[in-house]
Symmetry: C2
C-alpha cells in the first residue's frame, strides 16, 4: 500500500519565525507589538509601511533565519510522522532567497531525521504533490490538490473550514482522523 | 480549461553544469575528459574516487553555480513555454545546499520571465505536481506522476522509453505532440 505523504511547512509551523519577527519589532519599537495585537491578522498588514520595509530588509539577510527557535513539540511530532508516513518539509522561501542556505542548514541541525531529498523550497505550493499539507497559511490550500491542515498561529485564528492542529502534541491524532486506517 | 503545467529542470537542461564540470576537469587533469568519454555514463561513475571527491568539493562552493553558461536556445524556448503553458523550474539542489542562493540569482538574471513563485528546489521529484517534467535524469521519472520528457545530455544517450528533446528549438513541437490540442 502506498504510504500517505505528509508535507509540513517551516515558518511558524516548526520554525518560530513569528516569534523572531516580534522580537525584532520589540527590540526596535518597544512592547507595542504583542501576539494579541496580531490576532487574526498578518503581521505585514498591521505594520506601518516604513516598519514593514525595515523588517523585510532585516529578513533579506539570511542570518535572520539561521538561528530561529524550534516550535515546541515539533521535533518529537515530526519524528513520529516520519516513522508512520512519508514526510516532506515544504517551505515557501522564494520571497527571501538569502534564507535558502540558512534554512537548509537549520533543518539539518534541528531535524536531522528529515531526508535532505525530502526538503522542498518553493513559492506556489500547488506544485506540491502530497496527501496533506500542514501549514499556517490557508491561502496555500486553495490550489493544493491534497487536504490542507491549519497549524495554529495568531494570524490564522479566524480561519475555518480545515482540520486544525493547535499544538504539535495533537498532530498524530489529527492525522489519524484525516487518514483513518492508513497505518 | 486548466492550463498544462510544464516543469523544467535546471542543471544540464537550461544551465550548462556539465560543461562547467568538464572545464573544471580539463583545467585540473588535462584533456582526457571529453563529451565522448561520457557517452551514456554519469560523470561521477566515470571519475576516479579522488577526482570525484575533489569535483564534489568544488561544487559545494556555491560560486561553482553562480556563473554557469546558459544552454543554447533555452531562454527563447522557456519564454515561449511560459506564454503557452504554466511554467515551473524545478531543480534538484539538495546535494549542494550552497548552490541554492546562487541558483536562484542565476535564474533571476537569465530567466527574468520565470515567476519567482514558480521556482522549486527539491530532491525527490516525485513531490512535483505537474503534467510533464523536462529533465536530463530519467531516474526522476520513475516516481513522477506526469509525463517525463528526456532532455538530451551525453550521459542519457542510451535512455529510451520517453519523448526526447535533443535541442531547445525542438521543445515546442515535442510538447505539442505530448499534449495535442492543449493550446
Amino acid at each position: 500500500m502506498k504510504r500517505i505523504r505528509v508535507a509540513v511547512d517551516m515558518d511558524e509551523v516548526i520554525a518560530d519565525t513569528y516569534g523572531a519577527m516580534l522580537n525584532w519589532l520589540r527590540h526596535r519599537h518597544g512592547a507595542r507589538w504583542s501576539t494579541e495585537a496580531l490576532h487574526g491578522r498578518q503581521i505585514f498588514d498591521v505594520l506601518e509601511l516604513d516598519t514593514a520595509e525595515a523588517l523585510r530588509t532585516a529578513m533579506h539577510d539570511g542570518a535572520f533565519f539561521a538561528n530561529l527557535p524550534v516550535i515546541e513539540g515539533s521535533q518529537a511530532a515530526l519524528s513520529e510522522i516520519a516513522a508512520r508516513y512519508e514526510l516532506f518539509v515544504t517551505s515557501a522561501a522564494m520571497e527571501f532567497p538569502n534564507s535558502l542556505g540558512p534554512k537548509f542548514l537549520w533543518l539539518r541541525r534541528h531535524f536531522p531525521f528529515v531526508e535532505p531529498l525530502n526538503i522542498v523550497f518553493c513559492g506556489d505550493k500547488s506544485i506540491i504533490s502530497a496527501d496533506c499539507l500542514i501549514d499556517d497559511n490557508a491561502r496555500h490550500f486553495k490550489r493544493f490538490a491534497g487536504q490542507g491542515i491549519v497549524f495554529s498561529s495568531p494570524h490564522n485564528a479566524l480561519v475555518s473550514g480545515y482540520p486544525r492542529i493547535h499544538r504539535w502534541d495533537e498532530a498524530l491524532a489529527v492525522l489519524s482522523d484525516v487518514f483513518p486506517g492508513a497505518l
